[in-house]
Amino acid sequence: MAHDASFNPFQMARAQFDKSADLIGLDQGTRELLRSPLREFHFSIPVRMDDGTVKVFQGFRVQHNDARGPAKGGIRFHPQETADTVRALAMWMTWKCAVADIPLGGGKGGVICDPHHLSAREQEAICRGWVRQMNKNVGPVEDVPAPDVMTNPQHMLWMLDEFEVIRGGHYPGMITGKPVGMGGSLGRTEATGYGCVYCLREALAELGIDVKATTASVQGFGNVAQYAIELYHRMGGKTKSVSSWNHAEQKSVSYQKASGIDLEQLRGITDRFGGIDPAKARELGYEILPGDAWLDREVDILIPAAIENQITGANAEKISKRVKVVVEGANGPTTPEADAILFKRGIFNIPDFLANAGGVTCSYFEQVQCNTNFFWDRDDVLGKLDAKMKTAYHSVSDLARKKKLYMRDAAYVVAVNRVAAACRDRGWA
């Protein structure tokens, strides 16, 4: 890939880290330790293709930091992965696990390939080949991979199988993202969405707002959004509008009901991707509005739970004066310019890597259940999730309040601090 410094995710991640390190006042040694991955693996995976030829794929794994526990992070299949992207992602995983206060480090890895051009057998061969190369350095107590871009539960199971053959034994905790019944955890479907709302609940309590008196507007109607709304409604909240992507017309559309949307009703007319049927919605009495109308609704809470870069410098001012909290269900929905505006306007922002940490926390729970070979029921999982998210939230918001920090910065500080402390405790730095 190009050597230019114009856009480099790793540089960006480092810049974010540096900012937090400054705020904390980290010493040079620790900075240096944390700015770069602890170790990286680059290897070749030879695969005999279906037509008999042999093709060699490049695989890799970056373990950024495992002071707090085994590294955790996904494996992606991508035709043009770059080392710097992976390093950045591995670093973000370290901070994410740290902010959620789960005893795991950060890692990321993958294989340079495009599953669109590979048969199932070839993909299986690549998965097993990856494990063959990495098996000495991954495992339940070393490094725990998970699914990511273009990998799925089947890939995870092939990798698990290969690992178990090599190590001899059952080690379901060596990888997460497995299907329920094959070592996966219940509650995974709800986890991210619920996680957002656990944070929200805490935030509202702190702000002295009764959740039952609030209304929300949600962008997106996929997995995260639906479950966030589900829990929010159970707590007594009301969602006034929801936006969803209409594949047929290739644009997003907002659906509004002043008296509050009926989640089950909308679910009934939604396809598997969160696409709501506009004609049926109209029949059920929903007002059809343009896609970006969700942003300027007269509500108390905004939940962007779709894609990145939705709240920008250009539209942040359109947010209603009534909005008090923005909960980032998606990754990166708010641009840095918008951050500044939100901060200026005093709108409380629960940053993505705290708000959607429900997912990685549930992943951790999958590991724990696997390692003990005992699987909890759904309510147990969600109960534990609630507790974890609550404490995670409060660590961040306490700091933000005490030190008058923007929540996103506070979250980074909490995370980096925890990792730095672990390194120090171990005598590394």
């Binding site: 669109h116 590979l118 048969s119 539960p153 299907p179 329920v180 019944g181 047929a248 870069n309």
Partner: protein
């Protein structure tokens, strides 16, 4: 007719029981004099050929030609008949009265009895008798004046002759087969060449039981019938089984002969409606619904009603599909697909109701000849003046009852050649499968908001969709079915269908997978809970878990091998058996036709070329190119700016006219995460483009992978948006980036807010930058070459219409068309005032459109002038005749002595049958 030779193979000898030949001969002599003469002559010929000198002598007595006379006059050596040189015999030989001819007396047989054993004589006699009967049969079949019922009767009568070959020579049988094929199916040589090797005469016997004809009809069964029958015969060959095709059935079918429609029209005095094809298209469109009603309300010929009634008895109450089988459809080289109607008939209710519905459907399918689409289609190809005859296929709908619906487990289409490759690993020859649950109508057509499942027979392992999301997005959600309760054709959501039918859905474990915990799993029929299970129609159970794909590939290869052409087939599976529903040469027209690549282009007119991963087609009349400059894009300062390029493209997509522009950009269009690799767009941002081009520039040793549109591949396919990868750094490839960079950039004008991105996104107005020209992209997958050329807008090189005319030029109809044109020219050059000609009528094979390269042009000229004019007319016509014969020979290689057969009759003579009147000079 074959002459019997000595040394026949033993097995044929055994076919004949020992019959006393004298008795047999007596019978024949009494009843069938001509036949007696013929077999006598055969015996005589045989005796001569084995060298019997007495036979030679006898032959001389029989021989009535010049050589015979010479022999009789002693001018020839008696042992060498026919050795006289023709020039020596200028007088015709005297003819011996028949009664005296040895052939009438049975003398050859008496002679034979002295030299040959009785068994041999008996065997030969029987064989000749059978051949004689067969030849009579062949004559009936080959005579164009025989009606269908006459031929049917001939086939039935001689069934015992033909069954088991009965010792007929192979060439005899072949010529009988050819006659039958020509008579029933088509005269197209390509088809006959294949069919004659695979069809058996007994096939026709069975077929006839299911053909509905009227008394005087002599049409054919039509193109669709021909295609399906041929495929069926090919599949019955042992070679097909060897190639691993497995059991393939064809649906039970009845046929209505193609000219029954003419009976119907004549019966109801509807002749005028055939003039629809000459009317303006808007008028046609307006009048069409009325004509449909007219057809439906007009009574059918009684023979037809009776035939339809028998058909209903045969089928019972199974749902039926009524399809057109026109003489112009589906034959080699013509693709009329989808232009005429097909109708589903639920076939429920009382017998009277069902018959009425069937008649209604037949009338409607017939009326579809007069619809605007077919008329326009034929006009474009210069085929409109032909009398359009249309056969009808009445076919059972492959399927089974599922609750209140009738549907097949799955259905689809398969192609020998794949024009929609999502991966460089797929070659064209790997083929393509489109599969859907329910009726195949959803796989044949592109349905707006739903997708068929795609698979590649030659690459079983590759899937179009890598992630769960993609699989879910692009799997079918609805199915076409027949609702037996409401007796209607419906589209139902699969989710609803499954809730009702559940595990009763045929082959449910092959058609669906169950989505559980973010993971697609195999369906276990027993464990299925249709109320709660989330079922996805991904057909993985079929594709991965059975040998279906291998068998389809074998099927495609077998058919293609016999037909010497790539094929396009439709099929369906009812849960028990696999059925082939239609087979035709893969339509090389419209979108999928290979475009001829223009040569001798000036370098300054070529914008780019490609020679890898090229699919067939042509992208015409592009007025704008949106070019995302790869170097500039790679140097954008941050992610936000890169993302905004995607938004700019989306905005342009909304502003520019649909299909009038192409998108050219770096790497992988549709990248979301790693947007350095390609512009971050979703399908919505590009859905109006005519073509998506990805440019891969070499970096050192390394050429980046292109996406091949995988991010929205099926959306592109269904919308007909083309894809082309460019590798500008390859040897011999042209990429005129200088043109794209040098042309004025209209971005700032169209999207002023995004002007700062001008250096990165260029909107090139092609006519403005090239002095009024447009861009056309010609792609030919056979040559694996594509070229984008700047051309003048009117100058359509070998485009759709021209290609079609060229294709039509190769069709057999060209002979008829040329002759018609000639006749019209001839008539038009006759001035009634000076020539004495009152009218010119066209008749015969040119009028019906059945002329071949050897046909003449039959004209009736009504003349009312004086002798001088008459003499001049005759000379003039003779001149035309000579000239036309030369022209015909030059263009077809066939020499016809008289190409023009003009009969001059008196002006008031209306008894001579004349066909359509041709306009004379200055007439309209």
């Amino acid at each position: 007719m074959d002459r019997a030779r000595g040394g026949q193979p033993d097995d044929s000898r055994r076919a004949f029981a020992a019959v006393p030949w004298r008795e047999l001969l007596d019978v024949i002599r009494q009843g069938r004099g001509r036949q007696f003469v013929r077999v006598s002559r055969k015996m005589l010929n045989h005796l001569c050929s084995i060298g019997l000198s007495e036979a030679q002598v006898m032959l001389a007595e029989v021989d009535t030609g010049p050589a015979g006379a010479a022999r009789r006059e002693g001018r020839l050596d008696a042992g060498r008949p026919g050795s006289a040189r023709p020039s020596q015999t200028k007088v015709p030989g005297t003819r011996l009265p028949l009664e005296q001819s040895p052939l009438m007396t049975g003398a050859p047989f008496e002679l034979a009895a002295r030299y040959l054993p009785d068994e041999e004589i008996s065997e030969r006699l029987q064989r000749w008798l059978k051949e004689d009967e067969a030849s009579f049969f062949g004559t009936v079949v080959a005579d164009p004046r025989s009606t269908m019922p006459e031929i049917a009767e001939a086939i039935r009568r001689y069934n015992d002759v033909l069954l088991g070959r009965s010792g007929l020579a192979p060439s005899t049988l072949k010529s009988l087969r050819v006659s039958l094929i020509q008579r029933f199916l088509t005269e197209q040589l390509d088809y006959i060449n294949v069919a004659k090797e695979v069809a058996r005469i007994t096939d026709f016997h069975g077929l006839l039981d299911r053909v509905i004809m009227t008394r005087g009809c002599y049409g054919k069964l039509g193109g669709k019938a021909a295609g399906l029958l041929l495929a069926g015969w090919i599949l019955e060959r042992p070679e097909a089984a060897e190639m691993g095709v497995g059991t393939v059935k064809t649906p039970r079918t009845w046929y209505v002969v193609s000219d029954v429609i003419m009976d119907f029209i004549r019966l109801n005095d509807l002749d005028d409606v055939m003039d629809q094809k000459f009317k303006d298209i808007t008028q046609v469109r307006r009048e069409y619904p009325n004509l449909v009603q007219l057809f439906k309300n007009s009574p059918f010929p009684p023979d037809l009603v009776e035939g339809l009634s028998r058909a209903l008895d045969y089928f019972g109450d199974v749902p039926l599909i009524i399809r057109s089988s026109s003489l112009l459809e589906d034959r080699f080289g013509t693709a009329f697909s989808g232009k005429y109607k097909s109708l589903f008939l639920p076939n429920r209710g009382s017998r009277a109701d069902r018959l009425a519905a069937l008649q209604d459907a037949v009338a409607e399918v017939w009326a579809s000849i007069l619809g605007p689409d077919p008329i326009e289609y034929r006009r474009e190809r210069g085929l409109q003046e032909f009398v359009e005859e249309m056969g009808i296929l009445i076919q059972e709908v492959v399927g089974t009852r599922v609750g209140r619906y009738w549907l097949p487990a799955f259905a689809g289409v398969a192609f020998s050649l794949n024009e929609f490759r999502w991966s460089p690993r797929i070659r064209r020859e790997d083929g393509l499968l489109r599969l859907v649950p329910g009726l195949g109508t959803r796989a044949v057509d592109r349905v707006g908001d739903d997708f068929p499942v795609l698979a590649v027979p030659g690459q079983r392992g590759l899937r179009a969709h890598a992630s769960l999301q993609e699989t879910l997005r692009y799997s079918p959600r609805q199915a076409d079915v027949i609702n037996l309760e409401t007796a209607s054709f419906e589209t139902v959501p699969l989710a609803d269908l499954l809730k009702e039918a559940g595990a009763d859905y045929p082959l449910v474990e092959r058609v669906f997978s169950v989505l559980r915990g973010g993971h697609l799993q195999q369906v276990q029929r027993l464990m299925l809970d249709p109320e709660h299970d989330d079922l996805v129609a991904d057909l993985r159970g079929l594709l991965d878990g059975t040998d279906f794909v291998t068998r389809i590939q074998a099927l495609l290869k077998t058919l293609a091998m016999y037909l010497q052409s790539p094929v396009d087939i439709e099929f369906a599976h009812d849960g028990k058996d696999f059925y082939l529903v239609q087979c035709r040469p893969q339509a090389m027209s419209g979108d999928n036709a290979p475009s001829p690549i223009p040569h001798d282009l000036r370098p300054e007119d070529v914008l780019f070329t490609a020679d890898r991963f090229v699919s067939n087609g042509q992208v015409p009349d592009i007025t704008h190119v949106v070019y995302v400059v790869p170097e500039a894009y790679a140097e954008l300062p941050d992610r936000e700016t890169m993302a905004s390029v995607g938004r700019v493209v989306g905005a342009l997509n909304g502003l520019l006219r649909k299909r009038s522009f192409i998108l050219v950009g770096p790497g992988r269009w549709g990248s979301r995460g790693d947007i350095k690799l390609g512009v971050a767009v979703t399908y919505a941002d590009i859905n109006n483009t005519a073509m998506l081009v990805e440019v891969a520039r070499r970096r050192g040793d390394y050429v980046p992978d292109l996406s091949f549109g995988t991010h929205f591949f099926q959306d592109l396919v269904e919308a007909g948006i083309r894809y082309l990868p460019l590798y500008p750094d390859d040897a011999g490839i042209v990429f005129r980036e200088d043109f794209l960079l040098g042309a004025p950039n209209r971005l700032a004008e169209l999207l002023p807010d995004h002007a700062p991105l001008e250096h990165c996104v260029r909107v090139v107005d092609v006519p403005a930058a090239s002095r009024g020209r447009v861009l056309r992209i010609y792609q030919n997958a056979e040559l694996d070459h594509a070229v984008a050329v700047l051309e003048a807008p009117g100058d359509r090189r070998a485009t759709g219409a021209a290609r079609a005319t060229a294709a039509a030029a190769d069709s057999p109809l060209r002979h008829a068309r040329w002759r018609r044109q000639v006749a019209e020219e001839l008539a038009r050059s006759l001035d009634p005032d000076t020539s004495g000609v009152v009218a010119v009528h066209l008749r015969g094979s040119v009028a019906d459109g059945r002329a071949t390269a050897e046909s003449d042009i039959d004209l009736v000229v009504r003349f009312g002038g004086d002798d001088g004019q008459r003499a001049r007319l005759e000379v003039w016509l003779d001149g035309w005749n000579r000239a036309l014969a030369v022209l015909n020979q030059q263009s077809t290689g066939v020499r016809v002595e008289r190409l023009l057969d003009a009969v001059i009759v008196a002006a008031d003579d209306h008894e001579v049958a004349g066909g359509p009147r041709l306009p004379l000079k200055d007439e309209l």
